[in-house]
């Protein structure tokens, strides 16, 4: 019980709930004092959240070090406390490896919840006719699925970058360890807010939350906006941290062109996070201000313009897709050379292509608005810029193929996932062409074609690579190997499930299946294909179940992993599994390329082995017993 009460998370939740109650009560008192009815859901919950979240953060302990700093006290060195219980993962801990695991675990939990939401909603659409969901429940489930999945992907991206980047560049930790902990802990209330959104009435706008619909949606909308804002805040601070870390904390000799590609993609991702997240933050805040204070951003009667939201929203949300997929493409670039035993083909071009994608992503947002009534001539430049993304992504794909050509390929589970990711992402890219070309987009916009297209890009760019990453780095993180048979079963189920779920959706979209509909006309003849899609979606869910079983069982009872089970060359594999608390006791000396497989005499780095007697094992918090 005492351990439980010492958990930062529990203290935070209690403080947060108390703060929320205080904030709500205060607003209601003020409202009645001013002669308004006490209860106005939007204003009262907003005030509650505004008080509750700082209270929660204080409870978690995210402020305590900074507060001590203001008072001029000495501060504990980040990660200086040698305390290894599982409770470490439920409090504000500044170690980047702990935070990486926290992000990843949260991400997987949110993915599970959001997946279940859509599985329910998918049952409803497997046949024409309204079966068992009311339209508003359907709309809420579908909308929450979208926004929660995107939040989960952002968390997963942060998790991967947090865990891997400092290790890969030979740093002791992130540039701002306490800010890092803060960035993680403000996402937890976002998860709670999203979970509350359904009981609070949900919302019926889809994840995009276009006004004017979102200015009139139920209270769930407001909770979603606040949650999005918190995740965005975390994303900006995370981006600042990643960029500062990569620019300033690299080990001696680690020039920019000696960094692993994953670090390059993290750099491009951080750039996108810092520059563009503000736009979506302000767009959603405008909706919030219109809901709560009656401002007129999106009300034509008050001089507003509904397209303003779409411009600001897509100015972030298109680059956001690259935030989601770039680290995944980085993971593929790490895995393919290791399992082909060959250097990454065209390293420099692949490294720069990430920045090509990032910069190009900044000037294409209008292609989401071809049918939304932007100026007609504007559609042509947006079409051309959109097409250009084929070039840097093509560079990556061809480089992976050339890396495999004449290699010595072994199909371990990470490689299987990486190869599927390439295939899936390729289909995602190719089916994006009709979306980018205006006339065909006028046809397929807002249909299941689009749904299938972006699920291809997100599965190919994030989900499959993230699974590859987990199978690849799990031994490093936990010191144990994942079960190989279960891993291959997971891969087989997920690959089959994915293709059977999403390929028919292209056909459905072409044949009149609009997105985000609870029901459709039986006369369209889309029932049988929808049934296929629903069944296959459950196959994906089953594969995830296998995956979760494997994760838990292997972390608990898996075979002990050697330091470098895949014979990789990057820095993290030169440390023990799991890595020591402070990564590298002395900075490694970087001498060459991380991918010099087969090159005689090629060395990536010289690492002074860890292992002073006092050095303890990090990882999942178990004191190493053998």
């Amino acid at each position: 019980m005492r351990t439980l009460l010492s958990l930062g998370l529990l203290k935070g939740v209690i403080a947060g709930l108390a703060g929320t109650a205080v904030g709500m009560a205060l607003t209601m008192v003020v409202r009645s004092a001013l002669g308004y009815p006490a209860w106005q859901p939007d204003q009262v919950t907003l005030a509650g959240t505004l008080v509750g979240i700082p209270a929660y953060l204080a409870g978690v302990g995210a402020f305590s070090a900074w507060w001590g700093w203001v008072l001029g006290k000495g501060i504990e060195e980040p990660g200086g406390h040698h305390f290894w219980g599982w409770t470490r993962y439920f409090g504000a801990d500044p170690n980047h490896k702990v935070i990486g695991i926290q992000y990843m675990a949260t991400s997987l939990v949110v993915i599970a919840v959001a997946g279940i939401y859509q599985l329910i909603a998918r049952l409803e659409t497997s046949q024409p006719g309204l079966q068992f969901l009311s339209p508003d429940t359907y709309n809420s489930l579908m909308s929450l699925h979208g926004i929660m999945m995107l939040g989960a992907v952002l968390l997963g991206v942060s998790g991967m970058i947090n865990y891997l980047v400092p290790l890969m560049i030979g740093a002791r930790d992130m540039a701002f360890p306490r800010l890092n902990a803060f960035s993680y802990w403000i996402t937890v209330p976002a998860v709670f807010l999203l979970l509350f959104a359904l009981p609070a009435g949900g919302f019926d706008t889809g994840w995009t939350g276009y006004p004017p619909l979102s200015t009139k949606a139920p209270l769930g909308m407001q909770l979603m906006i606040l949650a999005f804002y918190l995740v965005g805040w975390s994303s900006i601070l995370g981006g600042v941290n990643f960029l500062a870390t990569i620019m300033k904390m690299r080990a001696p000799g680690m020039g920019l062109f000696r960094m692993p590609i994953f670090v390059w993609t993290a750099l491009a991702t951080a750039f996108l996070q810092i520059v563009f997240t503000q736009f979506v933050g302000i767009a959603f805040l405008m909706v919030l201000l219109q809901r709560v204070l009656g401002l007129g951003f999106f009300d034509p009667a008050k001089g507003g313009n509904v397209l303003l939201f779409q411009h600001l929203f897509w100015l972030y949300s298109h680059p956001a897709v690259y935030i989601f997929v770039l680290p995944g493409l980085g993971v593929i670039s790490e895995i393919v050379p290791v399992f082909s035993r060959k250097p990454l083909f065209g390293y420099r071009l692949v490294a720069l292509s990430s920045f090509g994608i990032a910069l190009q992503g900044a000037i294409v947002w209008g292609h989401h608005m071809f049918t939304a009534g932007i100026e007609e001539w504007l559609r042509i430049p947006f079409m051309v810029t959109t097409m250009l993304v084929a070039v840097p992504t093509g560079v990556k794909i061809f480089s992976w193929l050339a890396t495999m050509w004449h290699g010595k390929i072994s199909l371990d589970t990470p490689m299987l996932f990486a190869l599927t990711a390439i295939a899936v992402f390729l289909v995602g890219g190719l089916t994006g062409i009709p979306n980018g070309i205006v006339p065909t987009d006028l046809y397929i916009h807002d249909t299941y074609w689009v749904v299938a297209h972006f699920h291809h890009t997100l599965f190919g760019g994030f989900v499959f690579p993230a699974m590859a990453a987990i199978y690849f780095w799990f031994p490093k993180v936990t010191g144990r190997l994942l079960n190989r048979g279960l891993g291959k079963l997971h891969w087989a189920l997920m690959t089959v499930g994915f293709f059977v779920t999403y390929e028919p959706m292209f056909w459905l979209g072409l044949n009149g299946m609009r997105r985000r509909i609870a029901d459709y006309d039986p006369a369209l003849g889309l029932g049988p294909m929808n049934t296929v899609v629903s069944v296959a979606a459950y196959v994906i869910a089953l594969s995830m179940l296998v995956f979760f079983v494997n994760l838990v069982a292997s972390a608990w009872r898996g075979t002990r992993a050697p330091a470098n089970p895949w014979r990789s060359r990057t820095l993290e594999w030169q440390l023990s599994s799991p890595p020591p608390e402070h990564n590298f006791p002395t900075p490694p000396q970087v001498l060459g390329s991380p991918y010099g497989f087969g090159i005689p005499g090629s060395v990536h780095a010289v690492v002074t082995p860890a292992g002073g007697a006092g050095e303890e094992k990090g990882g999942l918090g178990r004191v190493s017993s053998g």
Partner: protein
């Protein structure tokens, strides 16, 4: 921490500086989005009821506070604790004065162009966001002032002051763009 950083050849202050610049860079996109919205929604229209002299006065107050913040930082760099304290206090005072000015403009604005009208929406949002940043800047300055009671700032140990003052200047730069956008374009 300092010792560990030293063995690795890290320059902590350079890292802090880069981090702060990146953060301010990100914040500047927030203001950019708001400025864009002003032109997107309202073009270059402005109501005649804007209190022009007040606008100029609060702009100069904010510039003056940047000057005192600069002086405070310079004093801290050279270890002049009293000068640091005096100048930062003046800065905080000027910051509050600016907020009072915005408050006066708001109360007039509520009368002539309330937030539920086109220009009001833009005006109250932009000034509100900026005022919020001024407030956080005041808090940051207050924090380094409080910390200064325990810690001596001086050559080589003035990052805290530098950071807070930089942020304050950033808020000023934002106003340099907001002021003509709201008050002067036509």
């Amino acid at each position: 921490m300092a010792a560990a950083a030293k063995t690795r050849g890290e320059d902590r202050v350079a890292i802090y500086r880069l981090g702060l610049w990146l953060f301010m860079g990100s914040e500047s996109f927030l203001f950019l989005a708001l400025l864009f919205s002003r032109f997107y929604l309202q073009g270059v229209q402005r109501p005649a009821e804007l209190n022009q002299p007040l606008g100029l006065v609060i702009s100069i107050v904010l510039l003056l506070s940047s000057l005192s913040a600069y002086r405070g930082e310079t004093c801290a760099v050279y270890g002049d604790q009293a000068g640091f304290r005096r100048n930062i206090l003046v800065t905080i005072g000027l910051g509050f004065l600016f907020l009072v000015g915005v408050g006066i403009e708001w109360s007039e604005g509520f009368h002539f162009f309330p937030p539920s009208t086109g220009f009001g929406t833009v005006f109250f949002t932009l000034t509100g966001f900026h005022a919020f940043h001024v407030l956080t800047g005041v808090l940051a300055l207050a924090a380094v002032l409080v910390r200064g009671r325990k810690v001596q700032y001086g050559p080589g140990s003035y990052w805290a002051v530098e950071g807070a003052v930089k942020y304050w200047h950033f808020v000023d730069v934002a106003w340099v763009f907001i002021y003509p956008t709201l008050y002067l374009v036509s």
